[in-house]
Amino acid sequence: MKHLLAIEQLSREEIEAILDRAESFAEVGRRDIKKVPTLRGRTVVTLFYESSTRTSSSFELAAKRLSADLVSVKAAGSSVDKGESLKDTVATLSAYDPAAIVIRHPYAGAAQMVAEWTEAAVVNAGDGKHEHPSQALLDVYTLRRRLGSLEGTRIWIVGDVLHSRVARSNLIAFQRMGAEVTVCGPPTLIPRGIEELGCEVSYSLERLGEAEVVYALRMQRERMNESFVPSLREYAASFQIDTRRLNPRQLLMHPGPVNRGVELSGEAIDSPQSLIAEQVAAGLVVRMAILYELLAGGERPAPLAKGDGTAEATPIGQPA
């Protein structure tokens, strides 16, 4: 795997390889010294054209944990403000001979274009409303840890599917791992033709009880102005996931940041069935695994030696 541009391009085996690698990094995270020398002397560039907390911080920390040199570029305050094109910015950063460029961009296909302009491995950290593959991988990782397997698991993705790259990547990733996916939301926020991606479509939460996993999406306030929904109040009345609608056996997920009281009730967020904090934790190890697979990977990690937790039990920790 040269780049991580879209979940669409990954096979189930490739997804599993990254998740297995992430498992071994979870072990590293339990050590006193959480850093491994794998990417020592190599450079990782993060290039963010959109604001981000979780994704940017976890990619940056992942690169540091792997001992890479890190260059973080945010569009605001950079030459992008002076009108430099994406192509020229990438050419400039490529002059540092980075091993990887992690890019978030407000428009679809940006990461793919960058991959054509640089020798570095390119990681798509979100391109417009298209894909967010590292989010999908960490969500699959989180669920796999909890459920063992996603095979046959019924997952409902609820909310603003139209404007969500997370919905698209997760829909593909969940299905590729064997889950059955239903997308649910008001008809104005469900893209026409989405069912051709193999999912079911529901315009009400009536059958939410069928779901084993409920994945709620962020509802952006600006959608009201564009007549997608009449009001947040009406949206919440019809589509908010609360403890009344959620049954205790269901797992709840959300990519963050949450609008408390809109797509999720406060009780639901704080309930024991919520995996939201686990998702954030998974973000770090999965992003370490992504960088590792692209820059040092190729072989599957050896199975973990159960219990003893010694670093020597895995290839992790060896210089690449």
Binding site: Y107, A108, G109, M113, K129, S164, P191, R192, G193, E196
Partner: protein, 449 residues
């Protein structure tokens, strides 16, 4: 009157050429067979029996196995002049047209500033008489500065030589302004060509709304954005008995509306572009804006099939390229940010021959007829091979394979939707308005002693 009388071209030498043993096909004139086409002093002197054609001092082209058709007419070209000469100008755009086998093109008015005054038309016509390789006509905008609010001085524009009117690039959103333009047409004549799109429905869409846009997370332009506006304007044209031409039809719903309007006697004509006839939104999965971002967008396979059916039954009477040159920096950006439009003049015949004729989807004769069908909707006589007519002839080698772009382009821009494709069928020589406008560089010509 010849097809090119109302158009402007750089004056040149009248052609004296014999196309020997060429397979001639002009379905509208009922000409089909192997002849020597004798072009004398820029006119088709005769269709002589093969090998018999003779003319003193004429250049003889051994064209056995090749085909001659009436040269093509494109009613929808962006020459980008004035204002965007870095993308195209009259010289490069008409060279591209000549290379594509065209004997006439109509240039759109959405330049910078838009072509809105008699002086603009006069200046462009003068430029064409200096630089144009093939005859070109200019449309003027319907509304001042294309704002959709006030009509241009349509009578004066017509007197200055505007072939017709179009705000192409933008729809005329106000039904009231549209109605006024159609009423005023009684005074000035000139077909009004319409870019049909409801901006409220298109929103920030960048591709066809459907399963592919859903998969890519790109905002969609629904098919009804086009068809509802056509329905409105067909009703207004019927009400005023006005003459309208619908540009770049893309959707099945639009075809239905045009077909119904024609059946009801509305004076409406329609065009489709080669890219809409050959491609679907599946191509957009590549997220390549250079080749696949345009307005209207590439639509679904059912839409493409509806366009082909309409081309067959005459609901769509002509192919128009909507040749829209852009420079690389406007296309080397993510899909949503990229400029809309692709070039098409140099590849229209070859692409449609490869994609529709060779697989047997449409007959060669139908393609030839539709490629020259863009003249009549603007009151211009259709190019013909009938002896006695002005010579407007394209010589094609239907077996020649070539890869688009490998030898560069005549156009100043490279955003061809065919870039990198290998096409079968190539224009070898174009005679436009009685002058040799193009010959393929690699095609050596034998000159009679």
């Amino acid at each position: 009157m010849s097809p090119t009388a109302a158009l402007d071209v750089r004056p040149g030498e009248d052609a004296n050429v014999i196309l020997r043993r060429v397979t001639v096909l002009d379905p509208v004139a009922g000409i089909e067979g192997v002849h020597d086409i004798v072009i004398r002093d820029g006119r088709i002197a005769e269709l002589a029996p093969p090998g018999d054609g003779a003319a003193d001092g004429a250049e003889t082209i051994e064209a056995e196995g090749m085909h001659a058709f009436p040269a093509f007419f494109d009613p929808h070209v962006h020459l980008r002049t004035p204002g965007h000469e870095h993308k195209e100008d009259v010289a490069t755009g008409t060279r591209a047209a000549a290379a594509g086998g065209y004997c006439g093109i109509l240039a759109m008015a959405n330049t910078e500033p838009p072509v809105s005054t008699a002086a603009d038309i006069a200046a462009l016509r003068e430029r064409a008489r200096a630089d144009a390789s093939v005859p070109v006509g200019f449309l003027a905008t319907v509304t001042r500065a294309m704002k959709g609010e006030e009509l241009t001085e349509m009578v004066e524009l017509r007197e200055a030589g505007a072939i017709g009117f179009s705000d192409d690039g933008l729809p005329i959103t106000s039904a009231r302004v549209m109605l006024r333009a159609l009423q005023y047409q009684r005074l000035c004549g000139g077909t009004i060509a319409l870019h049909e799109e409801d901006p409220q429905l298109s929103g920030d869409g960048v591709m066809h709304e459907g399963p592919v846009s859903a998969a890519l997370g790109l905002a969609g332009v629904p098919a009804v954005s086009e068809s509802t506006m056509i329905a409105r304007d067909a009703a207004l044209a019927a009400y005023e008995d006005a003459r309208i031409h619908v540009q770049h039809l893309s959707a099945a719903q639009s075809v239905d509306v045009v077909r119904a309007a024609k059946a009801a006697g509305v004076r409406i004509s329609a065009e489709a572009s080669p890219h809409h006839l050959c491609l679907t939104d599946e191509a957009v999965r590549s997220l390549d804006p250079q080749r696949f971002k345009m307005n209207p967008p590439l639509r679904g396979e059912a839409d493409r099939q509806a366009l082909i059916a309409a081309l067959r039954d005459g609901t769509i009477e002509c192919v128009a390229t909507d040749h829209a040159p852009h420079q690389a920096e406007e296309k080397e950006v993510p899909f949503e940010q990229a400029a809309m439009g692709v070039t098409g003049l140099e590849t229209a015949f070859a692409a449609l021959h490869t994609e529709l004729v060779l697989p047997g989807t449409i007959e060669l004769g139908l393609l030839v007829e539709r490629l020259a069908g863009g003249a009549a909707p603007f009151g211009i006589e259709r190019p013909t091979l009938t002896p006695g007519s002005e010579a407007n002839v394209v010589l094609c080698d239907l077996g020649a394979e070539w890869t688009v772009g490998e030898d560069g382009y005549e156009s100043r821009s490279q955003n061809s939707w065919c870039a990198g494709r290998t096409l079968t069928g190539r224009v070898m020589v174009t005679v436009a308005a009685g002058q040799v406008a193009f010959r393929l560089r690699s095609f050596s010509l034998g000159v009679a002693a």
